[in-house]
């Protein structure tokens, strides 16, 4: 035994290949980071090329296999409702109750169960601890006035032989006070489908038609209804209050001379688990060249509905109803010449590849590439923002797959055209409902994590993760190499001319110092992150201040943030100053710890909201990697250091969240309208929607920026 130990001690200890590889990568961290970052960015731009065609993954859906049953009779019914609604608008526009009554009466005549749902618009408030928590039933607010009511009209069709365990929801936002013609038309489409569904025998799931009162916003109405549906309050004072409002009670005095008289009640109607939800809107003015249908799918925190739902809509709209399907895209990117030239490069590359190997065909035309990139960019942007793009977002909070369909017709106010759009829209909705109705299981076959590059093309998580992984891969290596660097340099300084025994002594001593040094910079990083947490909590207190304009709130926020940073700095330590002159490489350790904390932050965020992490990584990774004290660079005075200085200064400005916001806003809307208060508004909307992006900015990006700036101005 002793011999073997001796033997193993004597020759150079054999290192396992993976460790050797690690050491190799760490020692060549600069090269690795350059390669990885460029390839990461390149991979991001390659995504539109790599996108695959969508396909219906769930066999049970069978879209379009049945011929549509929606006939002209139903369209006429729908038209009747549209006419009545537009007329009633002219008559009594001061209250929306008339039109609600009309809708309820129409539903009752079909034999559906009808109920009204009264709700108060719930102010979205910042609750620091409510991120990621499931939606609760909300606060009980006592002093509601009667005027601030919204009324949702809900019609339910029970499936004739179904067991009532599942339901499909159809939502049409409708503002009774000032409804445009588009809203009335969307009601007409929904009504024609609804009247068909009361007669069909194939229904297996119940159908809920929610006419959401959008006078306080579409989302508020839908989410109020969903809250009541999923987490009802059994003890509430607000409902008692509501009984006292005469206006509302008028509503319930609907004449029950209908055949299905018993079907109306003012109690809340439920119909089982929601399998899917469709929000239907019709845009008032259509300026397109053909009938278009836009799909909005992004819900809060970048959650997406199952891809199958989008596929079904896309398939039916394109192949059955001849509508053009549109997904949101960043218009400013469409005309950019650099993107076009990039697309041409890819196209020519693909041609070259094809000549070499006829089998490989990954290239797409340059125009298609530009469109795909614009769509992908908007897909990334809306997912990263974490704010739902429509009322469907409320459903996603309850794990219901939902999308918003916005129909924008090409002509307007033509009788024939109106019937045509009613028929085609109705048939589309009918087809989608019929497909979902076929489902035995809930949506699970297809993807939940994807980016769309066009309505019929997507990039799945397995592909888009590569770009992100390449981008953040150099972070741990650079951190490790910096750490090793800092330690070895201090070692070198101390134990240069000593005997071997002294070397070990000094090494031991060095180890203790090193660990202490490491802790020092870790403390700094921790303090800055703590400050980040405080900064992101501050708005909660600031928004309590009454009568505060966005600009003043923003100023208060900035001032308080600076103040808190100074206080923290003075109370806990003076970390920004060099403690000991001997530690020249202090900044390297700080940078190393910063990089590792950024790596952890980005890794966590990629799990919560990938798009935010991707965009954050695009900005933060170069900034972290390039950060170096300006003094050193100025001292060096080479071309390389000059470049670095410029890069650092540019990145240092861009990475500051408000600056980035204004830059982005200026790029999209023009710089003229920029206002300091806008940022506050934007932040307000982020926390109102419980967006994790807000936390990311406050607790990862801002501290990282502060640390990088502190490194830049490091005095050594």
């Amino acid at each position: 035994m002793a011999e073997t130990r001796e033997k193993s001690h004597k020759p150079k200890p054999r290192v396992r290949p993976i460790v050797r590889l690690g050491i190799f990568l760490v020692s060549h961290s600069f090269l690795v980071s350059v390669v990885c970052c460029t390839s990461g960015v390149l991979a991001l731009f390659l995504l539109p090329v790599l996108a695959k065609n969508t396909y219906i993954s769930e066999n049970a859906l069978m879209p379009g296999s049945a011929s549509p049953m929606l006939s002209n009779q139903h369209v006429l019914d729908g038209n009747r409702l549209v006419k009545d609604l537009t007329n009633s608008n002219l008559k009594s526009s001061e209250t929306g109750i008339e039109s609600h009554k009309i809708i309820a009466q129409y539903m009752l005549d079909l034999g559906a169960e009808v109920s009204f749902h009264k709700f108060h618009p719930q102010m979205n408030q910042f609750h620091p601890l409510h991120f990621f928590s499931s939606p609760d039933s909300g606060k009980i607010q006592e002093n509601y006035s009667c005027s601030s009511y919204g009324i949702n009209t809900v019609g339910v069709i029970r499936a004739p032989r179904g067991d009532g365990k599942e339901a499909i929801v159809l939502v049409t936002p409708y503002n009774a006070l000032k409804s445009g013609f588009g809203e009335a038309l969307s009601l007409g489409i929904a009504y024609s489908v609804f009247s068909l569904l009361t007669q069909v025998t194939w229904l297996a799931k119940d159908i809920i038609w929610l006419v959401a009162d959008s006078q306080f916003g579409e989302y508020a109405a839908v989410s109020a209804w969903l809250r009541e549906y999923q987490t009802p309050k059994f003890s509430s004072l607000s409902t008692l209050n509501s009984e006292m409002c005469p206006d509302i009670n008028n509503l319930f005095e609907i004449k029950v001379h209908s055949v299905a008289g018993s079907k109306f009640s003012n109690s809340f109607r439920r119909a089982g688990t929601m399998a899917a939800a469709l929000v239907l809107k019709v845009r008032d003015q259509g300026e397109q060249f053909e009938d278009t249908i836009s799909i909005y799918a992004e819900a809060s925190n970048g959650q997406m509905p199952n891809l199958d739902l989008i596929n079904v809509v896309n398939y039916l709209a394109v192949h059955r109803q001849g509508l053009r399907v549109n997904v949101e895209k960043l218009r400013s990117l469409l005309n950019s010449s650099w993107l076009k030239s990039l697309g041409e490069i890819f196209e020519s590359l693909a041609k070259v590849a094809k000549t070499l190997n006829p089998k490989c065909k990954f290239g797409i035309p340059a125009t298609e590439y530009v469109e795909g990139t614009a769509t992908l960019a908007s897909s990334l942007y809306y997912q990263a923002l974490g704010v739902p793009t429509g009322p469907h977002g409320a459903f996603r909070d309850y794990q219901v797959d939902a999308i918003t369909l916005e129909i924008s017709p090409k002509f307007s106010l033509d009788k024939v055209w109106r019937n045509d759009i009613l028929l085609r829209g109705g048939r589309l909705i009918e087809g989608v409902i019929r497909s979902v109705n076929n489902l035995l299981e809930k949506f699970h076959q297809s993807f939940f994590l994807y980016l769309l590059t066009s309505p019929s093309k997507f990039v799945s998580v397995g592909v888009y993760m590569i770009a992100f992984a390449l981008l953040i891969a150099p972070l741990p290596m650079v951190a490790a190499s910096l750490y090793v660097d800092a330690n070895s340099s201090s070692n070198f300084l101390k134990g240069d001319s000593s005997t071997p025994s002294a070397v070990t002594d000094a090494a031991e001593h060095g180890i203790t110092i090193r660990s202490w040094k490491w802790l020092n910079s870790a403390k700094l990083v921790f303090i800055v992150h703590l400050w980040g947490a405080i900064v992101s909590l501050l708005p909660y207190f600031i928004c309590q201040i009454p009568d505060c304009s966005p600009t003043t709130s923003f100023v208060i926020w900035v001032l308080l943030s600076i103040l808190s940073l100074l206080i923290l700095n003075s109370v806990l330590a003076s970390p920004l100053a060099c403690v000991k002159a001997s530690q020249e490489k202090e900044w390297a350790l700080v940078k190393s710890v910063t990089i590792s904390s950024v790596f952890i932050g980005l890794g966590l965020m990629s799990v919560i909201n990938f798009a935010t992490a991707e965009i954050g990584a695009l900005v933060m990774v170069p900034m972290c990697l390039l950060a170096q004290p300006l003094k050193l660079d100025v001292r060096a005075g080479t071309l390389r250091s000059c470049c670095r200085i410029i890069c650092n200064l540019v990145l240092g400005h861009i990475a500051f969240p408000p600056a980035a916001f204004f830059l982005l806003k200026g790029m999209l809307d023009g710089f003229g309208s920029a206002n300091v208060g806008d940022f506050w508004m934007w932040v307000e909307s982020l926390w109102a929607w419980n967006s994790a992006t807000y936390l990311f900015i406050g607790m990862v990006q801002l501290p990282c920026w502060v640390l990088c700036v502190s490194i830049l101005f490091h005095s050594c």
């Binding site: 970048g302 959650q303 809930k442 699970h444 993807f447 799945s460 799990v607």
Partner: protein
């Protein structure tokens, strides 16, 4: 010659027919003192407010328990064997598709209350055996029933699938087992065996209407089988088995779509007739039935509305009510003249009374089939009577692994009438029983039970009078919660919530379609203080109808209960069942959006339990025979032949590998019958002499072969086994080691000598014969017993002492 021969033939015919009649007369006289098998068929039709028609078929056959041994004339043999073998005291099996709509179809009369069932299969049974045997009997019963009805009832065998309610279930007793299969698809496969239990199948009588396509096109159909066996010695009832088969279908008559367009005709109820809703007509009654009637029921709301319409037309309301003119009134028209009209005795609870028209099918024949039609002339709108509270159940919360089950009760407007009748407002209390079973993977926190009355949270002890909870055991048994709530009568809404966690399921415990979710069985909400009854004025002839006797349950021992069935579906995502791994869907789903979702599916059912009242009317065989026209007998003969074969098949199923019945099985039933047929002539004369001993099989009489009942030599063994243990149980406890040893050596020898010796004898030698039934139930014979280990015996539920004894003896 031919001329000569013909009169001779006629003469012979005349003589034999005389003889036959004489003999029948004998038979009928002899039966006077004794109960005989009876069969009733009835159909109730009721127009519903939402343009639909409720059709309720009711078939009842009853048989004395043991007077004829194993043989029955009319009563399905499979059922009687089932009762005898599994000691079933009461049993109900229902197959249901669709939901009963309590709001528009009513929730307060006896039809919804006893026939509104949860979707899928529901089975409960009460056994007449000691506690420790019930589970094994239940398991065997489920297997037998699944074979009988072509359904997966055998899945109720697993102890996680059934529960034992203590007292909240109406036929309350500790011997009850209750299980449901919410997912079971109900189809015509289940209806066919159900129909085969009827003496006439669907070949004659009212059951001819049962056209499969129209039944399964209906909005709701529930096929139910209710079985009650009464032991001799129980109070006031004759010993026997009563089998009730009901089929409740809600159908929508075909209305012309064109007429919908015109506003004036929009509100007129669709007119219907039997042939339009079923596509068939009734051509005469089933000859084996005592009575065969069709009823048309107009419920209280409708009658009140009709009266109102009459008043508006200027006619006096009293005039309407007289039975002569009610069927020719201006509101609607009946295509057939009712034989009788009954008007409900106006009860204390409500001023209005319902009207019942009775049609006797007997009078109709193939040439003049019975086809009842109802044509509405003016639009009528009415409401069905509602249960005092409208119950709904749903799951709260979403997304995460936690949630809550909520049962919400809302007062219906109609209940105010009932409340008013009670008048004592201070002490007036509304009793509500709630029975809820939750599968084991739903971990219910019973301490988190919250009660809200009129939107105010209340202390649980104020509202809940009685509570019984048996928590679930992982992978062993479901959780059961039984509650008795006392709500103030003025309550407008009440709610119960209980929180739960989702249990952890291993990957192999997920069903293959895990994304479909998991069903939580229906809850049962009942109102025991409410009587859903109708008492009809009329003479005694009504008593003959078992269907109508159901309406009189106010007089019965047990109060009626309105039950709400609600089904809830719970869902969770299965992350482990993935598509091709390249998609990475599973992993990221759980990370990004916590998609383990929990969702609710709600359905509501009301159930009311009516007690049985024996059909009092008896008609002798002769009467029945004389009342029949000739042409009816031809199809009947065919059907009876079929049924006999079916019986034998069932018998094989039932007694498969059953040791105590080996002796019985060796002489095949068919052989026995053949032998008997050969001997028939001698037997006739014998039976002529000893007619007192046996009742004649009506079918046999009709088919011409005159077989008397074989005198059943072997008494039912199960019964004797059951009576024994009480006597000998003491000896088991006190037996000492020395005699045991002696006994064991003896037994050992015995066991070695003849391996085929009966288990019973073996146990008897050990003084353990009270466990014989346990072995019998598990179908353990001596060869199997030799191979049984200690654990096996433990699984049988045999206590430690006897177990050791048996093992020692086997060694």
């Amino acid at each position: 010659m031919s001329l000569l021969r013909r009169p001779l033939l006629v003469l012979i015919l005349v003589v034999t027919s005389q003889f036959l009649q004489l003999w029948i007369a004998f038979g009928s006289v002899n039966e006077e003192g004794q109960r005989q098998e009876e069969f009733y068929e009835e159909l109730l039709l009721k127009p519903l407010p939402d343009r639909k028609v409720l059709t309720h078929f009711h078939f009842q056959s009853s048989a004395p328990l043991t007077s004829n041994g194993r043989h029955h004339h009319l009563f399905p043999k499979a059922i009687s064997q089932l009762v005898q073998k599994f000691r079933v005291k009461e049993m109900e099996l229902s197959f249901t598709q669709g939901r009963w709509n309590y709001e528009s179809w009513g929730g307060f009369d006896s039809i919804p209350s006893s026939n509104a069932k949860p979707p899928g299969v529901e089975l409960w049974a009460v056994f007449d055996v000691p506690q420790y045997l019930i589970d094994s009997l239940w398991k065997n019963l489920t297997h037998t029933l699944s074979g009988l009805f072509c359904a997966s009832i055998n899945f109720l065998e697993s102890s996680t699938a059934y529960s034992a309610p203590e007292w909240s279930f109406p036929p309350a007793s500790g011997n009850l087992r209750y299980g449901t299969l919410p997912r079971e698809a109900v189809c015509t496969e289940n209806l066919t065996p159900w129909l085969k239990l009827l003496p006439c199948r669907d070949k004659a009588g009212i059951s001819m209407l049962l056209d499969r396509p129209s039944i399964y096109r209906g909005f709701y159909h529930s096929q139910r089988l209710h079985l009650t066996s009464t032991e001799s010695g129980s109070e006031g009832m004759d010993p026997g088995i009563v089998l009730e088969q009901t089929l409740t279908v809600v159908l929508q008559p075909n209305s012309q779509r064109a007429s919908l367009a015109r506003a004036s005709e929009k509100h007129i109820q669709p007119s219907w007739s039997l042939s339009s809703i079923f596509g068939k007509q009734v051509s005469g009654k089933c000859v084996l039935a005592e009575t065969s009637n069709v009823y048309l029921l107009l419920d209280r709301g409708l009658v009140a509305e009709l009266k109102q319409l009459h008043k508006e037309n200027g006619k006096s309301a009293e005039k309407v009510l007289t039975s002569e003119n009610f069927w020719t009134n201006p509101c609607f028209e009946l295509s057939a003249k009712p034989d009788r009209i009954f008007i409900e005795e106006s009860s204390l609870l409500s001023k209005n009374s319902s009207v019942l028209y009775k049609f006797e099918v007997e009078k109709y024949s193939e040439f003049e089939p019975f086809d009842l039609g109802l044509t509405w002339k003016i639009p009528v709108v009415w409401l069905c009577q509602q249960a005092p509270l409208h119950a709904s159940r749903f799951l709260m919360g979403s997304g995460n692994e936690r949630g809550a089950i909520a049962i919400s009760l809302k007062s219906t407007q109609s209940s105010e009438g009932f409340m008013g009748a009670n008048s004592d407002h201070e002490r007036c209390e509304l009793r509500v029983d709630v029975f809820q079973v939750v599968p084991w993977y739903v971990k219910v926190y019973f301490h988190s039970l919250q009660v809200f009355v009129d939107q105010q949270p209340k202390a649980v002890s104020d509202i809940i009078e009685k509570i019984h909870v048996s928590p679930s055991k992982d992978k062993v048994s479901p959780g059961v919660m039984e509650l008795v709530l006392k709500l103030p009568c003025s309550v407008s809404s009440a709610a119960l919530t209980i929180e739960f966690d989702k249990g952890f399921l291993r990957i192999d415990e997920y069903p293959p379609d895990a994304n479909q979710g998991f069903d939580i069985p229906s809850a049962i909400v009942s109102f025991p203080n409410y009587h859903a009854s109708m008492v009809f004025l009329g003479n005694d002839s009504l008593n003959k109808s078992p269907l109508l006797s159901k309406f009189k349950c106010l007089l019965c021992i047990l109060d009626h209960c309105l039950m709400h069935y609600e089904g809830v579906l719970l869902r969770r995502r299965d992350f482990l069942k993935t598509k091709p791994p390249r998609k990475l869907v599973g992993y990221f789903c759980c990370c990004q959006s916590c998609q383990r979702s929990l969702e609710v599916r709600v359905k509501v059912r009301i159930e009311m339990y009516a007690d049985q009242v024996e059909g009092a009317g008896k008609r002798s065989v002769k009467e029945r025979l004389n009342g029949n026209s000739f042409h009816n007998s031809i199809p009947r003969r065919q059907t009876t032949g079929k049924r006999q074969r079916q019986d034998e098949k069932w018998e094989h199923d039932l007694y498969h590998d059953d040791v105590p019945h080996v002796s019985y099985r060796t002489t095949d039933a068919r052989d026995l019958r053949l032998k008997l047929q050969r001997k028939s002539l001698q037997q006739v004369s014998q039976s002529g002499r000893g007619a007192l001993s046996g009742v004649r099989d009506l079918r046999e009489k009709l088919s011409g072969t005159m077989n008397p009942w074989p005198v059943n030599a072997d008494p039912p063994k199960l019964k004797s086994d059951l009576t024994k243990p009480t006597r000998r149980s003491v000896t088991v406890e006190t037996s000492e080691p020395e005699p045991k040893k002696a006994a064991t050596t003896e037994a050992k020898k015995k066991a070695q000598q003849k391996a085929d010796a009966s288990v019973e004898g073996f146990l008897q030698s050990l003084g353990l014969e009270k466990y014989a039934i346990t072995f019998q139930v598990e179908e353990v014979d001596m060869t199997a017993l030799v191979h049984m280990t200690d654990d096996d015996l433990k699984a049988l539920g045999i206590p430690m002492g006897p177990r050791k004894k048996i093992i020692l003896a086997l060694e």
